[in-house]
């Protein structure tokens, strides 16, 4: 069993993703997606909570209890990120990044600070970070999504209020054979 069959998701991603009609795609991409306790505590709306509970009940989502080792690394990531001249990382995202490093899980986040930290901090080298953009693209690659990729990305933006960076979206569309 590969660590890449597991993922760990942060709050901002879950809130947006839960608003999308094809949100259960996430459960087909990974064997299990972990939700840190810190992240679960931040989720309040009925829509998101119901979806998370359904996911936990079906075994697609799982609660992740932060261990001292994870918290220790997460705090170091928070501190190190605050030394950089770009947006820093908060503890819930740092927990996801720490688990990505220690366990090899795919980190799912829409947080710019977390994306930058994974790119910039040496202690996070090798950590794989995906956004909704990479998840949707992977859904097409594996045949779990069909139709016109451009319209599916547009549907996600419309239903969640999310905006994919134009350049990244163009690269994904080109790779998927859609028109960029």
């Amino acid at each position: 069993m590969s660590a890449r069959e597991f993922a760990i998701a942060d709050t901002c991603f879950l809130i947006d993703w839960a608003a999308w009609r094809r949100r259960d795609l996430l459960f087909r991409l990974f064997r299990a997606v972990f939700v840190p306790e810190l992240v679960l505590r931040e989720v309040r709306s009925e829509r998101t909570l119901e979806w998370i509970v359904e996911g936990i009940s079906s075994g697609s989502l799982a609660l992740f209890t932060e261990t001292p080792g994870v918290l220790d690394l997460a705090l170091r990531i928070v501190e190190r990120s605050r030394l950089l001249p770009v947006r820093g990382v908060d503890l819930p995202e740092a927990v996801c990044l720490a688990v990505g490093k220690l366990r090899g899980y795919v980190v799912i986040t829409e947080n710019r600070g977390a994306l930058a930290a994974a790119d910039l901090l040496e202690e996070l080298s090798g950590v794989v970070v995906w956004r909704a953009l990479e998840l949707i693209a992977e859904g097409f690659r594996r045949g779990l999504l069909s139709g016109d990729p451009r319209s599916v990305f547009a549907e996600y933006e419309r239903e969640t209020g999310h905006r994919f960076p134009k350049r990244d979206l163009e690269v994904a569309l080109r790779e998927l054979g859609g028109e960029a």
């Binding site: 931040e42 770009v86 905006r163 994919f164």
Partner: protein, 75 residues
């Protein structure tokens, strides 16, 4: 490292421009002072956790407010 930092600064500036351009400024200006300040902070920084704390709202409540203000989350 400097090249990477420059990339992230550029991405952040692009995201800020998108938030400024797409925001419903009349909606933002019509909000009570605390919410207005938090929405403006989000437009400038993109920091949702800090902005929701300023607003005194949960992360999800603040995300709904962003949708109402037509401010996109760019990532």
């Amino acid at each position: 490292m400097e090249e990477k930092l420059e990339k992230w600064r550029r991405l952040e500036e692009e995201a800020r421009e998108i938030r400024r351009r797409e925001a419903d400024w009349s909606f933002i200006e019509s909000q009570p002072p605390r919410l207005k300040a938090a929405l403006k902070l989000y437009v400038e920084t993109g920091d949702i956790r800090l902005s929701s704390a300023v607003a005194g709202l949960s992360l999800e409540e603040f995300r709904e407010l962003l949708r109402a203000a037509k401010i996109p989350v760019v990532a």
